[in-house]
Symmetry: C4
Subunit: 423 residues, 4 copies
């Protein structure tokens, strides 16, 4: 959604997130267990210093999107960056602990996590789908980091047992931490000094909050997961209660349910008209055109029509649904609408429903004769399966014909031919 979020920037952000995460994992370990003796980690630390400095230089020139406008002016970008993230990024980049040879200064590096938090927030903002899942993932990320820090804290309080390696003592601390946070509490590792007791209490209380958050999120997720289906089901239940209360026969009930199931499966219960109505004029025109142009073009009738006419017609077509065996119109009725078949099959039948003159399907149209002459329908039209039709009103049709006299003539000729071929 944001213009600056091109792929290279995204990869760079992921790289920064990854390295900040590594820093967040290794610094507490270094402070508690002194893991930095290992040359690979010293090397990695150097790399990260470089990376963080590169990030600072990049941020001075990186375009920003504010209020849907991309800002590329370097001066504005620099001022924006200096005012917000520069100092934090600098604190994270400069290797203070090497400069002053004080290990706890490593903690300043953790300030880069603020940046990670900001990036995650941005991703969450720009996403439209599966927000709850993104929230859960970012929650698990932070919870994992927290559990790691808590385990390191426990190690710092307890010290490393005499007969244990560094890795097993860390594992033990993490095990204690998870046991407590998940409220399982085996009781095989328990605090023994007052300080440890206070620490344990804090972890326990944090555990309750974590639980609350997890459960709240899952409940939220489940609620939203099938919100659309839940609405559909609630509506079905409403109808089913009513039909049962009024003793409507089961076969008729089944047809009603079938109709709603069709609506649900094919459009998820959402109405084309209501979606279009919300859009501003220009978008409404374009979407209408896209939806209806394809089958308007299939109609021989409209093949000589101008683009403007097709747009006008597209905006005026109303979606209607017929269920199997429904009569769209009956022979003898005075018609007021013509129909385009968007999806489905209909039969042209005689007034008594016995003789089938023709079968029409996607892209066909019918009912135009009655519109021209206000004479009764010459045949009945019966839906064979669920039919999505577009209806064109007589009034609209006449208005459109009025605007396009050439096309009116063409239509007139077509209708004449058709009538002759049927008689």
């Amino acid at each position: 959604m944001q213009h600056e979020e091109t792929i290279p920037y995204l990869i760079w952000d992921l790289l920064i997130t990854l390295s900040a995460t590594l820093v967040a994992l290794f610094i507490p370990l270094e402070l508690v267990l002194g893991v930095y003796e290992h040359p690979a980690l010293v090397y990695a630390d150097g790399m990260i210093t470089l990376l963080f400095f590169a990030d600072i230089f990049l941020n001075f020139r990186r375009p920003l999107t504010i209020k849907r406008r991309v800002i590329r002016n370097p001066r504005v970008l620099a001022r924006h960056y200096l005012k917000r993230w520069f100092i934090i990024d600098l604190l994270a980049a400069i290797p203070f602990s090497l400069l002053f040879e004080i290990t706890p200064l490593l903690l300043l590096r953790l300030s880069k996590l603020a940046r990670v938090m900001h990036l995650m927030h941005q991703w969450r903002q720009s996403k439209v789908h599966s927000l709850a899942i993104i929230r859960l993932v970012s929650f698990i990320f932070w919870l994992g980091l927290t559990a790691h820090w808590l385990a390191c804290g426990w190690l710092a309080l307890r010290g490393i047992p005499a007969n244990a390696t560094r890795s097993t003592s860390y594992l033990g601390a993490l095990y204690w931490c998870v046991t407590t946070l998940t409220t399982v509490g085996y009781g095989d590792v328990t605090p023994s000094t007052p300080v440890e007791m206070v620490y344990t209490m804090l972890v326990m209380i944090l555990g309750v909050a974590v639980y609350g958050y997890v459960i709240g999120n899952v409940a939220n997720l489940l609620t939203n997961l099938d919100l659309a289906k839940a609405h559909y089901l609630a509506n079905m239940e409403r109808i089913s209660t009513f039909l049962n209360y009024r003793h409507v026969p089961l076969t008729l009930q089944r047809r009603v349910y079938d109709y709603y199931a069709y609506l649900w499966e094919n459009r998820l219960g959402y109405d084309e008209s209501s979606v279009l109505a919300e859009l501003p004029t220009s978008l409404r025109t374009e979407v209408s055109l896209v939806l209806k142009r394809d089958f308007i073009h299939k109609v021989p009738f409209f093949q000589g029509a101008s683009q403007d006419l097709i747009r006008d017609i597209a905006l005026e077509l109303q979606p209607v649904i017929f269920i199997p065996r429904d009569y769209v119109c009956r022979a003898g009725e005075i018609g007021h609408q013509m129909y385009f078949i968007s999806h489905g099959t209909v039969e042209v039948v005689s007034a008594d429903g016995e003789t089938i003159y023709a079968t029409l399907t996607d892209g066909d149209f019918f009912g135009e004769i009655a519109l021209l002459h206000s004479q009764p329908r010459t045949a009945s039209i019966r839906a064979l399966d669920y039919c999505d039709l577009y209806a064109l009103n007589k009034e609209t049709f006449e208005r459109v014909l009025g605007h396009y006299p050439d096309f009116a003539k063409h239509v007139h000729e077509m209708a004449q031919k058709r009538r002759e071929s049927r008689q």
Copy 2:
């Protein structure tokens, strides 16, 4: 809802689900404890191989419903099946472990669970009622399997204690697993090696997720359980707050509540008109006819009427409710509606409400005289209990009479007779 879900197919699907479940239960046991020495299980394994092969052959020819159309074309069915499930079903059917004499190949059989998952998903999709309960049941199914696998994993890590039988060691492992998943955590069985610790942590974290899911579902279930009643109660509270705030006397308040309670108990607060309005024309006509035909036929007045007339009338009747002691109409007023009694009892009384001329009940009608002549009502009509009436508007009535001249004459005669009998 789906045509291919006939009873035999349903039984077959249940059989497949059952055997896949058995496979999922016994394979891990076999791998950890070596239970397949038992001849019954070897025998069952053979049966399941046959069953799974039979399922493959069946699936090549089994009709499918896609987008509400049943597909029976064998070629289309075969192609559809080959593209989707064939390989998975084959992996589950072929007894690789016997062929290659490698026990862990038994795990390939578990691929059949993917099929079970798909079946469950289908059932859930096609059900309209009690979705949350179905979700809970399928959740318990998978949770049970997971707990079983976790227990087997624990056994595999720990080994069987020297002084324990296979069944008690399995029971012990399951006990540990349940204790941990439910976060009870007695602490009488705790991990002792680093690998066990990691395993335990994973189980604990799974336990939190399980909790979240259970609680989220239960909360969801409870919310939806009485959603309809909750809406009713919220409305009652709204009204009660208003009436109390405005100091409406308690007796009048009680009558208002009584009215809403009647609506709730008899129609669950759902309005006939709104349900009908949502339906497409043909269904609306049929439902209207079913609802109103019965008592229209009871009316002597309509007994000579054509089916078309009754359909037209049925579509036009508006449901109205009167509460006990309400006047439906008063003597002397100019009437604009006739009424059919759908349910309830009314009294025909004199203008002063003293003399009772008649009592009318289900299937009776009244008020037709004023409609014909625009003269004042000759008597008052008072509801004796809660009355569900259908009202027929003068305008509609006249339009209907206009369409059916024969019937208009019949009505005229009837009204004349009635007036004479009352004078």
Copy 3:
């Protein structure tokens, strides 16, 4: 809500509930610990037998409400009872354990709990308020019974320790049960045999379900607790976001919030018109009359009016709200409405707002002159505090005057006098 729920029946039902509860508590204890040696309990058992038989006889004659009609016909009542509850009640009443001297037959008494369940369900149905709390209470009742039974089961499995009294062993079992159900799981009491392990697992799983239910209910309760306030706050947030986004000055914002706070505090945000619109005509008339009659009667203007006129006026008055310092109407404007002050104070001021002619308050009316002559307002009216007024439209006013010629004359004279006194 139900006619048969008179106080004596309610007390009887409570008595039955209480004794069934006692039975449910003592029977498992008797079976596990043999408490019936105590003469008081044997005595109580006799009493309960009598009570349960009395309940059977009572139920044959107790009136029922079905579909809002009270049934008192003894034959119908007896048939209804015989078909539904008679056998269950009989099983609970007959002291089988004494007759056959088999203690476990005592369990048959527990069938009376089905009746308790039914009574609780009925109470829940008939209550309109605090449904969630009633559900929680009944849940705690059943959970308490379940915990008791689970503790008795644990005792039965474990037996009474050698050095413990019956009461301390029961307490220990209950303690274990609560520890496990609440998932605390200290681990100071743990299962030692396979049967106990299976029993423990069942209790743990029940604990998870209990948790889910408690939390789901609490979440539900909290959600519904302030649903009305939540809607109010959501609306306020919507407005506040808009006003802030558009930089509306804080003093004006505060006035807008104040207006909504007034609406909220005085009517809970519910609109009089919408509540009235939902009611059937007769109730609407009566409620309107009650709401507006009091202050209509205060108006000297209406004191000679007939009851019919006041009813007509009451139905037509529209509630309107003015905020402090608002002008209800301004001198020189052509007025189209007269106003009745339902609640609040207004000032009659000169066109320039300087001179205050009069102060009007609850029960006063103004604006009637302009209605009669279509001449400009002779003075401005300014609200002093939040004012609930009822407005009467010129058109309505004229229609009412048309129906009541005598009253029209009276109004005319009044208006004339007033105009003179002001000039």
Copy 4:
């Protein structure tokens, strides 16, 4: 929201809350551990006695807001206070324990907590934002106090171990209490006597309730946190489902999403018109004026207009949105509206869209010529970016001109000049 909540009163209330909290913390400690030997605490007790008496005297005169009216009449205030809080405050203020030398009488002081509860309730009532967070904070406050009291109770039951100081025994008791309430239940501290068991069971059950409350609140908080965003996302999903189902091309889909994203980011999806429609007339006028005055004044056209005219215009302007590349109006069309640019940029282009005559931005207006003469638009107007315009209808425009003849003349001259400059 309440007039008496001025800063000094707020500070006083905080002081009272703080001292009542201290009292609630130290009194149980004194009763269990006898901490009052320490002179600082005795001194603090004296101070609190004074403070509580001062609070009583203050409350006699402190103004109250009841139903949005401030009450300052000392007699009414005194009566109100005597009837409600006087006795409770007196019980808390009088140092009974010193008077009668009975330490448990200290507990009477805790009655002041009722006052704290009332204050918290008031704060919660008067707050509009972040209600759930306030509820959580007050919940944590009460939970903290409860945990403290439970720990003191546990200490009282257990007594102080021989080898422990008072502070470590209190810490141990609190540790036990937190372990149990959070359902972690290590099992390193367990009850040993029956009384302790009962106490433990109560704490465990309280723990479940606490959990339910925490989780219910968190779930509630999460649900409400992004309710607005959830609605937005649900709508987006609805639209996205529809567009995908109908195979609308991705580029057009992206434009539709972009439009909604713009709406969301700039107005949070709330419509100006709907917010204004809810307000009473006077507020609607003022807010309209504030929103539209600024840019109306920028328009040279309106600079000579009277305040009344600008108010009338402001009320009639309708907000409309155009998306980038939309045509607001096209050359040759008969125009019916003039537009004010509230935010955005438009181009005045030739009929073929090639030549750009001018670029208009915030505060500019266009389209007034067509309104005056009903002649076709002389140029097309195309949106360059998302444009918030206000449209003024021809009908409204003419009505406004009719009311202000002087201004009508001025407008006429302006339009004439402009047309000349363009030709």
